[in-house]
């Protein structure tokens, strides 16, 4: 219903758009004043019994179609679960038990669509906060739009870029730079003298992540014996694995998307190469990876910003998520439940659905128990850059068809298998 109206707004001449934009603060101010007056008069003394409080709108931006849809659909399922959990627990008590209302928007795995959809979501609805988009490339765009609209956004994306010059963006989980460090430290658990082969697809993702590894390796005392880009979407991993074999590496870091990674893992098994594979994050720590690779996935390592065994609360979420979707709660799903509870905590303390006040409350968030603290390390507190000062990744390994936390020691739920 609101769509045609926004289209007409965006179609207007520039000066028209400016006029409308400049009107917005005054209208908001008016509503605020009026709202306060009404609240003071009507609700100040009279108890709310029997009245349903206005729901609090939370925007959710996820790619549910297109190439990133697989994880995006899982995120939406988790977002719904999280909202149900908050509402069943009584909603936002300081707002008269207001229920959270999720408004989902499909960003279609596309950066341009992400920009317009974020804009549409903010202008077309009275939101208190947004979460999304899981994929860093999309989240960077959504975050820009949110910053301009002064709308708080909380995200599980790991790009360090999200913590630069932003005030409304909150990242409760480990950053990409921390992932590389964790991977290198895991290689040291596999061997006293870690010799790592790094193979990466020759794209922006592969190149930047591999360079991060290369820079950190000397400080961690890890020797990189092979550093090789490859063309993504190859037909045969054998020649590449031949090279890994010749390099004498005892750990293999593969910075690849799912299809290449499956080929690489299978080929390593065929060659009979005894090397510990660390597949990093992303598709590798998804239930689908095991389904595709089968037994060959056993013993493979990765890193995640959340895992379903990090705490008792996480395991409860996992059971519920499994009931709904049939799969275990993957990192973004579990992280999203935690994020929703962080928003609920902020709303509770703000006692307001106003995005500005929610932002203030998020910036002073400090939790160490409950679902909101359900992160590796068990504590969440945002620094001035929106980064969780306690944020850290968790090293994981596929063991008996399940993804188990094995690193660091304090978060490990099972020992690392050196296969």
């Amino acid at each position: 219903m609101t769509k045609p109206r926004q289209q007409s707004v965006s179609n207007r001449q520039d000066h028209g758009a400016h006029r409308i934009l400049s009107m917005r603060p005054s209208r908001r101010k008016f509503l605020k004043t009026a709202g306060t007056a009404v609240a003071a008069g009507a609700f100040g003394a009279v108890p709310l019994r029997g009245w349903a409080a206005d729901p609090v709108n939370i925007g959710a931006l996820y790619p549910t179609t297109g190439s990133m849809a697989q994880i995006g659909v899982g995120c939406v399922a988790a977002a719904k679960l999280a909202v149900d959990m908050v509402n069943e627990a009584g909603g936002i008590k300081s707002l008269g038990g207001a229920k959270l209302n999720l408004i989902i928007s499909d960003v279609q795995s596309d950066t341009t669509v992400t920009r317009t959809e974020t804009d549409r979501l903010i202008t077309g609805n009275k939101l208190s906060a947004i979460h999304g988009c899981y994929a860093s490339a999309l989240t960077l765009i959504a975050s820009e739009v949110c910053e301009r609209a002064k709308m708080p956004i909380i995200t599980g994306s790991s790009s360090d870029q999200l913590n630069k010059g932003r005030r409304f963006t909150f990242t409760p989980f480990a950053r990409a730079s921390q992932f590389a460090k964790a991977q290198l430290q895991m290689a040291k658990l596999v061997s006293e003298q870690p010799k790592v082969a790094v193979i990466f697809e020759n794209t922006a993702f592969g190149t930047s992540t591999s360079n991060g590894l290369k820079e950190l390796a000397p400080a961690e005392g890890v020797e990189i014996v092979m550093f090789e880009p490859y063309s993504a979407g190859f037909t045969d991993a054998s020649p590449l694995i031949n090279k890994v074999k010749a390099s004498g590496a005892n750990s293999l870091f593969s910075l690849s998307y799912l299809n290449d990674l499956i080929l690489i893992v299978r080929t390593v098994k065929q060659v009979g190469l005894n090397v510990a594979i660390n597949g990093g994050s992303g598709g590798f720590v998804m239930p689908d990876f095991y389904k595709n690779v089968g037994n060959a996935a056993e013993g493979l390592q990765g890193v995640a910003h959340w895992n379903h065994d990090v705490s008792d609360d996480a395991q409860k979420v996992n059971v519920e998520f499994k009931k709904r979707t049939g799969e275990f709660a993957f990192e973004y799903a579990g992280g999203l439940v935690a994020q929703t509870f962080m928003l609920a905590d902020a709303l509770e303390r703000a006692a307001s659905a106003d995005p500005q006040k929610v932002r203030e409350a998020l910036s002073t968030l400090d939790v160490s128990s409950g679902y909101a603290a359900m992160a590796p390390g068990g504590k969440v507190k945002f620094g001035p850059d929106g980064k969780n000062v306690y944020g850290k990744p968790v090293g994981v390994q596929w063991q008996n068809a399940d993804l188990v936390s094995v690193f660091p020691k304090e978060d490990a739920r099972a020992p690392l298998l050196k296969t």
Partner: protein, 290 residues
Amino acid sequence: MLETIVQAVINGLLIGGIYALVSIGVTLIFGVVKIVNFAQGEFVMIGMYISFYLATQFGMDPILSLVVTMPALFVIGVLIQHFLIRRVLGPNDMPQIFLTFALSLLLLNLSLMLFSANYRTVHTSYSDEAWHLGGLYIPVAKLIAFVVAMILSAALWIFLHATDLGRAMRAASQNRDVATLMGINPNRVFAVAFGAALALAGAAGSLLMPFYSAYPFVGQVFVLMAFVAVVLGTLGNVLGALIASLMMGIAESLGIQFVGADSGLIVVFAMLLLTLAFKPNGLGSRRLRS
């Protein structure tokens, strides 16, 4: 060192067998019907999805599912030739290019819609197996794929040279007007050629399934190599396409091994450029057959 080279050649040869099935299909269609089928890769993709669903729904081994994919793709090929290609055959190439290109886009997006962009793999008992001979290894799934690909190529060769329909096909490819005057029905010959080419693409799909993932864009990966092989081996020459495919597989593998893992294709395209510079009609140009 020698071991590494031999291993690289084995790897290249095995994957070259798959390239051959795709490129023979392209070259057969070009040789007989005189059109370039840009959608050939998408038929490999369809073959893969058929094998995938037969394996997951009915527990059929992907290689055995050849007996379903090949006839199914043959029928699809005959229908496409009869209802679509036949209408655009004529002196002008443009409608043919647009038609097969549009078909490729249509099938690609249709499969995105139906199957989503997810990777689908089938796990067979031999998917991760390999035979080890000294320091060398031969992956079982790829060896089976290679052997079946060679058998199918040989069967096509025999069909083209030893049966009436095959001879009619070669006649129609050499001179359509004269063949028609000799009593050959070109529409029938074209339909069989198109069907056979698609059956080979379907076979490639089934043979790939035990060790490669099915996804909507998978055809694009193989069709690029197929087009290079077809040009390298002289357009329309079945034997040329087969040999060129195997050569390209080996060149790619050696390129990755000794130049760099992102340079496999560079070696292949360098080979194409050099061939075109010295033998503009491709390697098989002297003895033009089939």
